[in-house]
Amino acid sequence: MAVATTNTTNPTTTATTTTTEPTSQRATTMTLGKALNAGLRQALTDDDKVILMGEDIGKLGGVFRVTEGLQDEFGDRRVIDTPLAESGVVGTAVGLALRGYRPVCEIQFDGFVYPAFDQIVSQVAKFRYRNEGRVAVPVTIRIPYGGGIGAVEHHSESPEAYFAHTAGLRVVTPSNAADGHRMIQQAIASDDPVIFFEPKRRYWEKGDVDTDAPLDDMPLHRARVLTEGTDVTVAAYGPMVATSLEAAGIGAEEGISLEVVDLRSLSPIDFETLETSVHKTGRLVVVHEAPVFCGLGAEIAARVSERCFYSLESPVRRVGGFATPYPAAKLERHFLPDADRILHEVDRCLQP
């Protein structure tokens, strides 16, 4: 096993994929970015209360072009450029929701969500509870997140744990084009607010998308077993799913059988699927880019350690970012988990 020297994004070798995704004749190949764009277009078409709002999402189509062409198609009353103020974006979205709209906010990069944190935590998350169910705030907040693109500071953060710890929110993240297309529509249709994390370094990765597949083929909050394996379960989400599949591929060559679970939903977490897997393998490695300390992996490790106490053959291991801010681009490959670091923890799990 060699330590990768670059952040290989495309798994060169992948284990047999046993995704439950129905393969369809109508499936077309598109990038995650385009799939999200198509999903947003569908949502705008299906419900005229859906509006998109954010910085530079109109003519520019967003800095990642996820909203490209949508203002042209639906007009600037459905796809709205906002002044440069994130609290303002989310706060006005709350008001729009109270008026009966379904706003979909784009936060330009992960690191720019914090000015909106108060509106998200104190308002978006708590509005329904405060109003005893009389009021819904079906706001979707799209956040491109994670590193690996060689960016300057504040452009590579993984803040999902903050939101997962916030009751009242739902938090999801697709790892591939098909899920991007489906999940963004499900998130928008949800009567609860949804924080929708988009793994930005996977925007350009392609996958088959059946744009006509019924949405409820796969519920928003269900995890998916991507490769069946017997030795160790690897739980990942968003950008780390491809990395975990890469690890599974390398593992397969070395005779280690990994079961990769794509969590898809971070709040709530589908522990049923995860535990079924761990009961089988007896071992679990959790992977994310965010710092390990108090990260989402802590919750997963804590709960699985409790609920699978008697089937775990080795302690749950976590692979993730270190207790540092996100570093300069030339250091990010050390910060970010890669297939080798995952396999290193897999090895530790398997050591007698």
């Binding site: 303002g88 706060g91 729009l96 706003p103 405060r130 949800s190």
Partner: protein, 375 residues
Amino acid sequence: MAIAQLAVPTERFTEWAGYDGPVQLISVDGQRTVGCPYWELVADVDGHQLRDLYRDMAVVRRIDAEAMALQRQGELGLWAPLLGQEAAQVGSARALRPDDFAFTSYREHGVAYCRGVDPVTMLRMWRGTGLSGWDPAEYNLATPAIIVGAQALHATGYALGITLDHARSAVVAYFGDGATSEGDVSEALGFAASYTVPVVFFCQNNQWAISEPVRLQAHASIAQRAQGYGLPGVQVDGNDVLAVLAATRLALARAYAGQGPTLIEAVTYRMGPHTTSDDPRRYRSHEEEEEWGAKDPLVRLRALLQREGLADERFEKEVATAAGEAATALRTGVLAMANPTPDALFENVYAGPHPLLDAERDAYLEYLAEYDEVS
């Protein structure tokens, strides 16, 4: 009661906007001022309506006093009194039409009253039996915002929704002088101006944000802040119910006419403590309180009514009875308020099912049952 709507001529907006405030229509000693162009905006307000306004103010003052008493007696956890701000709240809220929508902070009991909310319901959050009271959709009134300033953005968003709907109604965002320091309020001014949405920013400058005087928050007048964002701002005597009514009507008319937001600064005074937990003697002088006491909005309106022969003994008695009845109903209602049951803790967090929360609820209710505690 409702103040009839007045058709405000669009072509005169600029003229009114050009008037150098503060707008005052009733002087401190209860005389009608002369020369202020805002008089036209309340030209339809007859003696009957003046008395209605006075009754509203007297009743909300009584409700407020009763709530203070209930808190002192341990029946409420906390109360934020509106004492002294009745004219600002009643004058503005009475300018609203039913399909206008209002967003408030925690002190606008007078606004809620004018919107038709049962005062008992208002006290629910202060008693701690719930986090809020009424249904926002029923009264077109959001539940109070405790996070200072946050509601200014909600109001702006709601107003944007009105614009997108091509509807002809408006939104009022109430906040205090302290709130003007929060980034959210500034962002709201900017968004509202940028989108030209029908929102009225109604700031009650009651001179204090807990222990902090307004000069710590604002170096210029608060009304002046509007100009910086490209919207009209006007300062009104907030203890003058007619001036407040006139300014709000104008702002609403501009909003209905698609001319966008206005900022109104109603200069008033928080005559009581910030809340029942506060002790103003620590930070402000008795003289200041007396000075403002002399400008009491109810005293002023009553002086006008008396001067104009509108406040005979029968009227005073009628008002006292209305206030007394409101107080009694409030007390009875509050004391009869049912406590929530434990399962309420877990309800309405999410619209749909949620495996984690559902499991937590089941386990907790089972735990309670085990110890025979389910009520």
